[in-house]
Symmetry: C2
Subunit: 309 residues, 2 copies
Amino acid sequence: MTKFSVLILGSASASPTLNRNPTSQLVNINEQYYLIDCGEGTQSRLRAHKIKFQRLHHIFISHLHGDHYLGLIGLLQTMHLLGRTIDLHLYGPPQLKEIIDIHLKYSQSSLRYPLIFHPTQTNSSETIFENEQIEVSTLILNHRIPCTGFLFKEKNKPRKINPKAIAQHCVPKYAINGLKKGEDYIVFDTQKVIKNEELTLKPAKSRSYAFCSDTKYSQSIVPIITNVDLLYHEATFMQNEEKRAKETYHSTASQAAQVALEAKAKLLIIGHFSNRYLKLDGLLAEAKTIFENTELALENSIFEIEETQ
Amino acid sequence: MTKFSVLILGSASASPTLNRNPTSQLVNINEQYYLIDCGEGTQSRLRAHKIKFQRLHHIFISHLHGDHYLGLIGLLQTMHLLGRTIDLHLYGPPQLKEIIDIHLKYSQSSLRYPLIFHPTQTNSSETIFENEQIEVSTLILNHRIPCTGFLFKEKNKPRKINPKAIAQHCVPKYAINGLKKGEDYIVFDTQKVIKNEELTLKPAKSRSYAFCSDTKYSQSIVPIITNVDLLYHEATFMQNEEKRAKETYHSTASQAAQVALEAKAKLLIIGHFSNRYLKLDGLLAEAKTIFENTELALENSIFEIEETQ
């Protein structure tokens, strides 16, 4: 069974507090790491979790508010100092490149590894990364400045070979790949067709994770995240601060839960808590009244998405 | 007795490690705070020490390597979010302003308090701040990019009134200020001169702190820091890495101690340790063979300079 998990490195909004760090999350899909946002102090938290920086190849930045990227420059520089030579892919708003360049310029440094920058845009959702197993698309959020969420989605998995049936029908090796793809098997000598379903088992379902960081309540993302397994949605405020949430282009816990409900998410995790909330029970309780299967995206929590048939 | 102390907020070089943070120090002179350098995570450390950000009015940045300023943008933004309206004075290389401006531009933010920027230069030492009690001057260091240290120096203190002698000579109130400044007292009726020394006591000595961050071994700073009470000097490497120190424009523990010896410092504290040194005993022992009165500038240490006659 392959892994699909999300490690919360930071859950605070705006400013770090003593116990909460600004936003950052580490997605682990089949032992491939994907870093989402990189608030100040992210590299220290990665070290605390013994995550080797060399294993980071893709970093996704949602928007250019400091609490979502101010730890990035230090992380890039540390990778350089550690002697990295392999590519690093960075996805984020176009201006992020300019910000990195000005820091490098005045520190008179150049990174000794290729930093490959992929600018995101906020006109429409698009696939920004894919490999054999997953694809990552942007979600267009409604924040004070251009901001995207990210949807991590496993591709359809190959059907599973049924070893007993394969042996029974004497299926030769060359036909196996076709079977995994869903093709029927045609016996070479007789041209007899054996249905794929007789020789294979249903693959595990494709899993998905949607990261919705810093946004007003917005229904427009619902279609693209419908049936998502795990939904992270910011919940900066409680509902009695709805006006403040609207003014600052943030969501309340109720609104996050409403999105989860409409999207038929399996599990909702909420975060980006305003530092006015010393205890978070109220935010959780509020979300649960609308969407029961909600948890707090607390620092150092790991949310695993199990593989199911 | 007025306070003069230095709190170490970070002692690491280049990258934070699990136990060491990049450079930052808080100088407290008579309950006025001065922040020197602001590596990533400085605001969290200030919070851990319960330092109210509103009490920071002056921040000094030595140079534009990330480990000395990457925590600054977040700190400035937090001050904004906390509702600060009072002036903040920032001293550092001219390009620091450009870096701050680009972050503010792309986060579409403007600080709601005046940020008054004082560019430093590296042609010659100059006084960049003074008030009634102290003055702060730059020290020209020899690093890969322009870099200044900072010398904090109490001004000459007023002589202390000797109450017994004042009563004995019936000195009127109007003459007191002159006496404090060192003037003699001339009796109004008789024009008799009473020597200042008969009416006053020697003031406490003026204290000083020199911060020498990121520099090759350089004798040129010795004249300006001679007889300094407390000297912080970087000691990134041990002497067996002298070549590497030279190449990277850093110092060894021996070299830091040599500067302390030549400057006749009272106490040397060393920091900015390379993360190759898990234990710091070797660095300390090496410095002590040249300058006995050396201590490690460890995270959370406070170095008090006592007032003496």
